[in-house]
């Protein structure tokens, strides 16, 4: 491992600690997954290792395909460490409610195309929310692939779209509708499979929680059955 210049985390998430470091002269981000005393030690080890491996693999595959994600510089899956490129930008969740119409449409377009291209590679993000979009000088960069994975199941793709639309709604209910529409429009344009099917599943997911209004659920399930 490289000697870290200053081992004080700049932020602490639920799963990992984030450090800003100087990595051979390059500004870099270190994401270190931490062991938790309340998890079974073997569970803890398997959990940290598999999440780190998947995240690193997904990041590098997307990066190599030319999508805007941070470049991976170093991986140490034994210790749950990923070193990646530092991206200067602001989280979309922080400025969403103050974006003007044009910016909103252009961001939505980028987000929709990103999701489609990612899904074309059989990759899902798992936590695809406004908070994980960095607005940088080079456009939208997607970060935090901690819950990402590989799947051919459209369910996972639909969940990505659902999370994005829900987080937009939380940030600004007024703007959410048009934003989501533009995301889905761009998505349909770039997704190679049947985009309509994914979007339909996304609507189904949003009514899936416990004790959701019975009539609404009945209607959706009936439509599904009839088909």
């Amino acid at each position: 491992m490289v000697a870290l210049t200053r081992p004080v985390p700049v932020s602490r998430g639920a799963e990992a600690e984030i450090y800003l470091v100087d990595f051979f002269g390059v500004r870099a981000v270190v994401k270190k997954r931490v062991s938790k005393p309340y998890r079974n030690p073997l569970f803890d080890k398997v959990f940290i290792q598999s999440r780190t491996r998947v995240e690193a693999r997904v990041l590098s595959e997307l990066y190599n395909a030319g999508l805007r994600v941070p470049a991976v510089l170093l991986v140490d899956d034994e210790n749950g460490v990923i070193v990646m490129e530092y991206i200067k930008g602001i989280r979309a969740s922080q400025v969403f409610d103050s974006l003007d119409g044009n910016a909103l449409v252009s961001i939505a377009g980028e987000v929709g195309r990103f999701a489609a291209q990612m899904h074309n590679m059989k990759i899902y993000h798992g936590d695809f929310t406004l908070a994980n979009l960095l607005l940088s000088d080079h456009g939208v960069v997607v970060i935090d692939f901690g819950l990402a994975g590989y799947s051919t199941d459209i369910e996972e793709y639909a969940i990505d779209l659902h999370l994005m639309s829900r987080s937009a709604y939380v940030a600004d209910p007024e703007k959410a509708k048009s934003f989501t529409e533009h995301v889905l429009e761009a998505y349909s344009g770039s997704y190679k499979g049947n985009a309509e099917e994914v979007i339909k599943r996304m609507r189904e997911i949003s009514i899936r929680g416990r004790y959701v209004d019975r009539e609404l659920r009945k209607t959706v399930m009936r439509e599904r059955y009839i088909e």
């Binding site: 309340y38 998890r39 569970f43 959990f47 929680g209 416990r210 959701v212 209004d213």
Partner: protein
């Protein structure tokens, strides 16, 4: 089991009432028929009685009709016992609160009918209460934690909830089966239940003591939502190949519990980081589980926040919690007449606004 305090100072904002207010609460949404009585004076709430009778299936899970029959047969006895302990007469009660959902239709109907009758006969208002809100509010009252991350786990619910602008907001919840249901179904299908609890320990906990190894099982967290059905299938498959080896079955139980609880813990941690709340409050029937309590307590210690798990007496379904939310609603003038009491099986806790929430 430490007995909880009988007197609590209200820690939510309510309009002042003149004199003493006495509320009788009725709970019947699932396997428990319960009646609770409390009184309110100044800013103090005093618990006067909390009596319950539980339907215990001899085999299989809860049969709604059998549970309904149990409630019908025990309602009078439970009501009488609660009145005796409280030292009150029915005509001393200012309002009747009743849980109208979420839950099993036939069961809720028993409580609703009783509440309608009492309200009509004594000409006192009746207050419809959300069962989930009641679990949370009684936890907040007893713990003294005003604005926590709420982990609500029971046989019918698994959700992580916070309060925002007079409403409950569900941050994460199960997309299929609830946690309590997962444990119960696993225990039933593998033949280690019923009875589902032995001396306050769940059958899965008892079984976990037989094993020591950890086996990897599917772990499904989607954003902040949980899915337990794949875990159940995988655990049942593992159990089938383990039987009749008691130790290997113990390993499966232990791993199932570890995986399921860790999923819930991850969502709780995420919510904690997201919202910066002052503590973690564990409520609902599964809050009686010792292992889960310890886990969440050490999560709280790890993040340096407060922790409170409701004690078994009020963690499970009971009438007192219904009476308490009835009181809050009563003080805010939410009272109605018998014809407006409607059974709401799918009554979500984020459906309505509650004026006392921060």
């Amino acid at each position: 089991m430490a007995a909880f305090q009988r007197e609590h100072v209200l820690n939510v904002l309510v309009p002042r009432a003149d004199g003493t207010v006495r509320i009788l609460g009725i709970e019947s949404t699932s396997h428990t028929f319960g009646v609770g009585v409390l009184e309110h004076y100044d800013d103090v709430v005093r618990f006067l009685a909390n009596v319950s009778s539980q339907y215990k299936p001899s085999r299989g899970g809860i049969h709604p009709r059998e549970s309904f029959e149990h409630h019908v047969n025990n309602a009078y006895k439970v009501l009488n016992e609660a009145l005796n302990r409280s030292g009150l007469k029915l005509r001393d009660v200012d309002a009747f609160a009743v849980a109208v959902g979420p839950g099993l239709g036939p069961c809720i109907r028993v409580g609703a009918s009783l509440a309608r009758f009492l309200s009509a006969y004594f000409n006192k208002p009746v207050i419809p209460v959300n069962h989930a809100v009641a679990h949370i509010e009684i936890g907040k009252l007893v713990s003294g934690i005003h604005d926590p991350v709420i982990v609500y786990v029971s046989g019918g619910n698994t959700m992580v909830v916070v309060q925002k602008t007079h409403r409950y907001r569900v941050i994460g919840e199960t997309l299929d089966i609830p946690l309590g249901n997962l444990l119960d179904t696993f225990a039933r299908e593998t033949g280690i239940a019923p009875p589902y609890t032995i001396d306050g320990n769940h059958a899965v906990d008892v079984c976990s003591e037989w094993g020591s190894e950890y086996l990897p099982l599917p772990y499904t967290v989607k954003g902040c939502d949980l899915s337990f059905s794949g875990l159940l299938t995988a655990a049942l498959r593992a159990a089938k190949s383990a039987l009749p080896d008691k130790r290997r079955l113990g390993d499966v139980c232990r791993s199932l519990r570890e995986t399921a609880f860790n999923m819930l813990v991850e969502v709780t941690e995420r919510t904690l980081m997201l919202t910066n709340k002052e503590g973690i409050l564990l409520v609902g029937g599964v809050a009686a589980n010792k292992v889960l309590r310890e886990k969440l307590e050490s999560v709280a210690n790890y993040y340096g926040v407060k922790y409170y798990g409701t004690s078994p007496e009020i963690a499970g379904d009971n009438g007192l919690m219904i009476a308490y939310v009835g009181l809050l609603q009563y003080l805010y003038g939410v009272r109605t007449t018998p014809e407006n009491i409607v059974v709401r099986q799918r009554f979500r806790l984020d459906e309505d606004a509650y004026p006392w929430l921060p």
